[in-house]
C-alpha cells in the first residue's frame, strides 16, 4: 500500500488540511474508489475502512493483478465529520456539487478540480454515495445518464438492483457525471444507510466492489457471485407521501413485498397519541426506501416502492 497526498491546503485555525489516497498494486490506473464527501456520510467512510483492510490483505497475498493499481480515497471532507457538519466546514459548500471544479476557485472547487485531475486516467471510478432522501434504501448501483454509461458493467457488481434514470438538475456538477464525461466508467454504490452504521449493507458494498474488481481482472479473489441485478428505471419507483404530519410509526421495513392497499405506517398526533393517518401502499411491489426520522412533515416522501415487482 502506498500513501499519497491528493490535496493539501492550510486553514486559518486547524493547521494543514490533507486528503490522503491509498493505492494498492502498481501499474495501470485501473480503479479509483472514493468514499465520504460529506460530514454525515459515516456509513460510506465505514465501508472504505472495511475495503481498505481487505485490499491490504489482498495485496499482501499477491492478489492484486500484475500491472494493475487501485486507488482508494476514503474521505474528502473529514473536518466536517469532526465538526458534525454535513457540508464543507467553513462555507457550507458541497464538494459533490463543485465538479468539475476550478483550481483557482474556493476550497471545495479546488478539491474537486484536483481530484478530477488526479483520477482522470482510471478506467473505472466507484463512489460510495449517500441516498438523497434520509432513511434506509435497498443497496443498489446507479449510473449517470451521460450517453457514455454502460448498464451491463453495472450489473457486474452483483448488487440487488441497478438504478437508471434521467439526470436531476444537480447531477452535472457531481463527481460521477464528470468522470463519465472524461471517459471513466463511473458508478455510484449506495448502501442502506448514511448517518448510521449498518454492517450487513456495508459488507454487501465491500463485496460488490471486490466482485466487480475481480470480474474486471483487477484482483484475484474468490467470491460469491452476488445477485443477478434487476435493472429498474427511477420512473418505476412510486413515491408514497405522508398526508399528515406527526410521529412516524413504521409498520413495514425496506425490502418488504407489499400489496396495494396495505398499511405501511401510521402518523401519530404528538398531542394526543391518536392515529391521524395511515400510510397506504398505492401499488403492489417491493419497498425500495423508507424514511427513518421519528417525525415527518406533511407531504414528505416516506416510502418508495418498486412498482409491480415481486420477490
Amino acid at each position: 500500500m502506498n500513501k499519497e497526498i491528493i490535496f493539501s491546503m492550510n486553514t486559518a485555525f486547524r493547521g494543514e488540511y490533507v486528503i490522503h489516497g491509498y493505492s494498492y498494486g502498481r501499474g495501470e490506473q485501473s480503479a479509483c474508489i472514493v468514499g465520504a464527501m460529506r460530514g454525515n456520510e459515516y456509513q460510506q467512510l465505514y465501508i472504505c475502512s472495511l475495503l481498505a483492510k481487505k485490499l491490504a490483505e489482498l495485496e499482501a497475498q499477491g492478489s492484486i493483478a500484475s500491472g494493475k493499481e487501485i486507488l482508494l480515497i476514503p474521505t474528502l471532507n473529514y473536518s466536517s465529520m469532526n465538526a458534525k457538519k454535513k457540508r464543507w466546514i467553513s462555507d457550507d459548500s458541497d464538494i459533490n456539487r463543485s465538479f468539475p471544479g476550478n483550481p483557482k476557485g474556493p476550497a471545495t472547487s479546488r478539491i474537486a478540480a484536483t481530484l478530477l485531475e488526479r483520477i482522470k486516467n482510471y478506467s473505472y471510478g466507484i463512489q460510495f454515495t449517500s441516498f438523497y432522501l434520509q432513511g434506509r434504501s435497498i443497496p443498489h448501483v446507479r449510473m449517470m445518464a451521460t450517453g457514455k454509461e454502460s448498464i451491463s458493467l453495472a450489473n457486474l457488481f452483483g448488487m440487488p438492483y441497478v438504478l437508471t434514470g434521467e439526470n436531476r438538475a444537480f447531477d452535472k456538477v457531481t463527481l460521477n457525471y464528470n468522470l463519465q464525461l472524461q471517459g471513466t466508467q463511473a458508478f455510484s454504490v449506495y448502501s442502506s444507510t448514511t448517518e448510521t452504521i449498518d454492517d450487513a449493507s456495508a459488507n454487501m458494498a465491500v463485496s460488490s466492489v471486490l466482485r466487480f474488481l475481480t470480474r474486471m481482472g483487477i484482483i484475484k479473489y474468490d467470491c460469491h457471485g452476488g445477485y443477478i441485478s434487476t435493472t429498474i428505471n427511477e420512473s418505476a419507483l412510486v413515491s408514497i407521501k405522508a398526508d399528515e404530519a406527526g410521529f412516524f410509526r413504521k409498520l413495514v421495513e425496506v425490502d418488504s413485498e407489499v400489496k396495494r392497499g396495505q398499511v405501511l405506517a401510521e402518523i401519530v398526533n404528538p398531542m394526543d397519541g391518536s392515529v391521524k393517518a395511515e400510510i397506504v401502499a398505492s401499488t403492489d411491489g417491493i419497498v425500495f426506501f423508507v424514511q427513518d426520522s421519528p417525525m415527518v412533515f406533511q407531504n414528505v416522501v416516506v416510502y418508495k416502492i418498486i412498482r409491480r415487482i415481486h420477490r
Partner: protein, 313 residues
Amino acid sequence: MIETVVSVDLMVEEELKIKKNRLAPDFLTGYEKRICLVSGLYGDELQGQYICYEVIKRIKHSFDKLRGIVDVYPSLNPMGLDSRIREIPGSDMDMNVIFPGSKSGALGEYTASCIFDDISGADVCIDLHSSNLYIQEMPQVRINNDRVNELLPQAKKLGLDMVWIHPSTSVLNGSLAYSLNGVGVNTMVIESGGAYKINQEYCNKIVDGLFVLMKSIGVWAGKTEDIKESRVVYDKDIKYINAESSGIFIPNVNIYANVKAGDKIGTIVNVITGSEEEIVYASDNGMICSIRDYPVIEEGSLIARILGGDANE
C-alpha cells in the same frame, strides 16, 4: 389581498405557509400585466424584506396609479428566515436548485412546485437576493445570455450599477430564474449587499428601479425617480481575486473603490504568529464590485471581484 400560496403541516402544531400579497386595481379588465417580486429563497438574505415592504407601502400610498397586478412573495423559505438558516431547515436542501419542483416530491420540492405554478403566467418576475455571509455585493441584475433579447431591455430599466450577463450553461437549471424563463416568464435576479443585514441605501435604489420597470411595462402610472444607466458586463469583464493563504483578511478598500492593477486590496494575517501571510493586490484596473465581508478565510476564498475595462470611464 394576502393569499396563501402553499400550506404544509409541520411536525408539531405549526403550518408552513408561504404567502403573497396581490396588489391589483379595483376593477380589472383582464388585460393587465403581472409582475411578481419574490424574496427569501435563502433564510440568511434579508434585503428583499425591506424591498418588498417598501414596494407595497409606495403602491398603497398611490394606489390609484396602479395599472397592473403586483404579486409580492416576501418569504419563500419562511422557516429558514425565522431560524437564520440559508437552506430549508430540516432537509438542509438548497431551495434554489429544486425548481420547478414536484407535487409528488418532499417538502421543498412540493412547495417549490406550488410557488412555480403560482408565478407561471406572469409577464415579469424579479427574484430578490442578498449576497451570502462572506461577500458584499453592489446592487446588480443578473441574467442569462440565452435570454438577452427579452431580458436586457427590462434589466436596464432597473438602473442598478451593473447588469451581469452569465452564460446559461453556468447556471444550474434548478434555479427559480432559470425555470421561470423556461416557461416564458421574463425573470431576473437582483443581488445586493450581504447576508443577515439590510442596506437601506441599496434597497431604496432597487425599489426606485422596480417602479421604473413597472412603469415601462404598464403596471404603474405614478411618479418615478430618475435612474442612471446600468453598465452591461459579461463574465470576461469581471476579474476574480481569490486568496492563496488562510487566516484573517483585513481589507484596504471598500466596495465601489476604483483600483489600479497592483494596488493593495488587503492583507491576510496569521493571528497566532502576528505575521502577514499574504498581501492581496488588484490584478486589473477597475472598480471593486464585490469584497470579502467575513474576515476568516482559507486558501481559495473569494476576496474581491473587480469590474474591469471601461468601468471607470
